[in-house]
Symmetry: C3
Subunit: 465 residues, 3 copies
């Protein structure tokens, strides 16, 4: 990833020294900086995507709670990544497992700051997934703790393995271009462990029969807004991971990643829509929007691992596969009675896992095209990588959430869960009734549902005193 | 690098130029891509709550579908040469072709990877053109009909027209036809398809009075959602205008692009403020409302209007064109409301219901712009009334006519067939009940998710609880 | 700011003339153009951020009103800035106080158009702040007038002082990298004067005791949407102010600005959350989302003045300080019975002021690191600059709003304020009741709150005839 940039630059500087050449090199850096910067800013906007997707998918009584969690994912995450996350992941001194300098950006060369920011937006993505799966019942203190630890420790160590020049996975044939494994599988695993230890929301599963009972989110448009922002951000996510754009061949790789990301989304979205509509997982006659949206996201996650090397048709196939994996895991979770309101595990773990396996098959020179020892090695190492990343995050999360559970601060009280956290915890209802009060409509007709309803029911007075 | 300083220096420079161009194209494309969200929310806000999810899913699929179409070349090659005819990119930008369309990259996949950026850039425009149609047919279009028509529009109708104007061999490209950022090709075409669709579809139930034919406002369920869409569109249209140059590293590019973006902004200013003032002044009937939606649509029409020449207008002309486009939008908006009178005596037949004003905004703005560019471009009729500048006007009229004619006739055939087959419009029952429940089983705002707890000492939390307590 | 770009470019052109060198120079311009353009477009999107933040913070009956004001801020602002704003700020002929050519872009070289657009988005930011503080009661005509004057005159003159090569502040040690003073303090001051002259909304303060009574906004998610968009845009705001990216050292400055912006937001948000929750300003047990969001914005505003020179830890500290200043001013306004629905003054003036003072302390070579005459000079000039910018904007706004008040067109009538402006003024309710009518739910269950409520209350019929 980014480190290749520094290496490339180092080489060129040694070669030649006349002024013009130096200018050329400095220009290359400018372009790379601009590229990294623009992509990072757009990826940063994905935080808003996650926030609204989650806000739309919870009930109105917990909307503010989920919004503040997403905001703090960014704010606390920034501090955690600055203090310990980046040093653990990309310090210049380290071993195969982690690195250990640049604490709090101490001594970090300023030219690496772009790199820092770029890595931070990925870390934030990984940790923000978790708040979705634990929505509507997670204790606020528990949230503060786990958010800090995931962004500051669990994710950075895994990303060190895969992307630091000394990381043990980096030095193998492990192939994960844009973090399908490191970012999404890791986040998905944490989400699953959290959701499982937390237990389902009250009345999510029938007390005796265990039949799942739909708890719908309060606003599909909000969720759709989040989804659209995520699609926007994901394009930059895939386009940005090259880390530099000025070297020969970069343009092609990045264009390809962009097109593949789009086709992956298409495959995942349309695939999930059709597969679900066809009644594969139980009879339905609904063309489901949320399934389509989650499918598209799963498809995007799926192609992440190899969007730089897939041929276009393979991106489409991988997208469909990731969409299908998402649906399988979605219905599996229902059977296991795990309550993941945002489908964070099916979408991100499922899509990521499918992608990291598929890349060994469908990459250029992969098993499908050239079944050789070489291509099998990629498969082998990708499976090892996937297993170790999942194992690492699962075991640490088990400890983390286990301790929080033992301490009794993992989940909110039954009363607060029923009443909703917006009022009890934040004292900020998402849609305060007083702000919707209506005046006497007069000649202009009624203005909102409220007065309409009142008039239907024969209420004559005015709501304003 | 480095063995051969002089040579490699030049080589490296060239490669650096490519890098910059790539970066420019990617960034603009990604931002233009976000316009899909803009259209989605503008439309979602403008329909009733019972059809919200329906319109959202259509917008999401618009994107996927057009990508599919453009990528069929890949599939076709991999599946061993199955002939796909309705494919977008090959028809528009294949390297072999004639004045009308091109025809390679489907049987033999030779599209160089370095063209992928170009592909993505073209794709976002195709998606823009087809997504316009969705709005004008909102709240009553059959889902299957929708699947068919987007396939045809993004796979065939738009690509052929874009081949005419942008492919080096296209017949319009080789004339004096001037359309910088697709005011004609993208917006007029989309607007025309929207009009044909909505005419054949007929108005929504309750839109016009059965006897008098008086229009009855069917308002959208959420102005803030529509506003969100509008703001995103303004954001995206800036990139749309800035991006159409296609490269930024050549001499003069920076100036053209800067000018395009400033003109886009001033066009929006002219269109928005113009439409607001003209409407408020009572030009089209007495009113005392400062209408937000008119302002927003006017701003969009202004942006569409300057598209045709945002690279060549002087600043003041961009403002003037914006105002003109805003005015054209208002004219067409009120014309559509009246249109039934002129079409037939029967007030029920032929009345046009365009919930999103897709035709007035995009066709009107686009048409005004494509005419205006001949007048206001540098060296245009206003500045230098000569044979040359008249030629631009002439060819622009020919181009506008050809594009409108092409899209209108094909859409007429397309929607006519769908109507004959009886799958153009949803059933009356479904229209009344709304498609969210009947078709998608996903209400946009499920009541159960708004249920309220006992408010307790904290007071009621939302409207529901408040209402209940008032009435208790 | 941007002018340095042109100057720098001019120098290099003279130096040497061979073809390759010229190409290099032209390439540099391309990169700079691309950078300026991308950042400007993203900053432009901040208009949407302000619009939704304000829309969420007003009552439903004034939502359309605030949306149209934000839209017009951009549309009218564009015309005003084109006609007189840019000429006053950045004309090539001028004196220490203002400049006076390029009216309506007349004779402006096309290569300056990128610069024009970049400056315009800042002007739009400054003026859009004001509509927030005067929300729900400002007359529409008054709005049209003040919006034109702030974008067209008040802001441009101040920006001439600070950024035009001949501006009197520019030629001193005054240090304000990204407009914490010029943009935010100015906007905040105008907002305060407007809100104070306008008076509070009806029932905002108890008639006798003066106790503040919360008037909540109608939708926290809308406000959150605005906030997230603002965070997104602010990153570009800080990254973009360098004005060029192709010169040596640019990449480092911009990366640093980006990281500092993020850390400032972290400091401000977390700081405000914790300080507020700790009960510093009165007992509370709420983890307030809106305080966190406003704190994060204040933190961003705070680091603006020096995000290119702060060390990372200082950005965090400045963020916390700005968050604290925001809280102080917020509660001060309540005591003074000034009603600022959006907290535009506390966030933007408070954050900006803190930042412009802090930069003298925490910049590299600042008072904290090197207490010398030099660093004290920066503090001195920054105080002078802050005072003159506030004084300039306050006195002009006082005149402006004073005249409007005298003419009786500053504030809407009592009746319109109670009924809401959406219906009375725009005839466009934000959420028209007719569009929420419900069908007979049939077997699929009810679809919206409306029918739910009806059934709760025993209403049996269908809403559709």
């Amino acid at each position: 990833m980014n480190f290749s940039r520094n290496v490339g630059a180092g080489e060129t500087i040694e070669e030649e020294g006349d002024a013009e050449h130096l200018q050329l090199i400095s220009l290359k850096h400018s372009i790379d900086d601009l590229y990294l910067l623009t992509m990072s800013i757009i990826i940063f906007f994905m935080q808003a995507g996650f926030a609204f997707m989650e806000a739309g998918a919870v009930r109105s009584k917990n909307t503010v709670n989920i919004l503040i969690k997403n905001l703090l994912d960014m704010l606390i995450g920034g501090i955690a990544y600055w203090l310990i996350g980046f040093p653990l992941a990309f310090g210049s001194e380290g071993n195969f497992f982690l690195s250990y300098n640049f604490w709090a950006n101490n001594n970090l060369p300023v030219k690496e700051y772009g790199h820092w920011f770029f890595d931070f937006v990925h870390a934030a993505t990984a940790s923000t997934l978790v708040s979705g799966s634990m929505a509507e019942r997670c204790n606020f203190y528990a949230y503060l703790v786990y958010s800090f630890i995931i962004t500051g420790f669990i994710y950075p160590v895994a990303s060190h393995w895969a992307w630091h020049p000394q990381g043990w996975l980096k030095r193998t044939a492990f192939k994960d271009y844009a973090g399908g494994g490191v970012v999404h599988m890791l986040g998905g695993t944490c989400a699953l462990v959290g959701a499982a230890l937390m237990g389902p929301r009250i009345s999510r599963f029938h007390g005796k029969t265990g039949e799942p009972h739909d708890i719908r989110g309060h606003s599909v448009p909000l969720a759709a807004l989040g989804g659209f922002i995520l699609l926007f951000g994901f394009l930059a996510f895939n386009a940005g991971f090259r880390g530099h754009i000025s070297q020969s061949g970069d343009g092609e790789v990045i264009s390809r990643a962009l097109v593949n990301a789009l086709l992956g989304a298409c495959g995942g979205g349309v695939g999930a829509l059709v597969i679900h509509r066809a009644g594969t997982f139980g009879p339905t006659n609904a063309w489901s929007f949320l399934m389509t949206l989650n499918g598209a996201l799963a498809g995007l996650v799926g192609v992440c691992a190899g969007s730089d090397v897939f041929p276009s048709w393979a991106a489409l196939v991988v997208g469909v596969g990731a969409g299908f994996t998402f649906l399988c895991l979605h219905f599996l979770l229902l059977r296991l009675k795990v309550d993941d309101p945002l489908d964070a595990f099916p979408v991100h773990f499922g899509g990521g896992l499918f992608g990291i396996v598929a890349v060994a098959f469908f990459m250029e020179g992969g098993i499908v095209f050239d079944p050789s020892r070489n291509s099998a090695t990629v498969l082998g190492w990708n499976l090892v990588g996937a297993a170790s990343i999942s194992g690492w995050s699962a075991s640490l999360c088990l400890v983390l959430f286990g301790i929080l559970k033992k301490l009794g601060i993992l989940r909110v009280s039954r009363e607060m869960e029923i009443q909703g956290m917006d009022l009890m915890k934040h004292n900020e209802p998402a849609y305060p009734s007083t702000a919707w009060e209506d005046c006497d409509p007069g000649q202009y007709g009624t203005s909102t549902m409220a007065s309409k309803l009142l008039s239907v029911m024969g209420y004559k007075g005015s709501l304003v005193d």
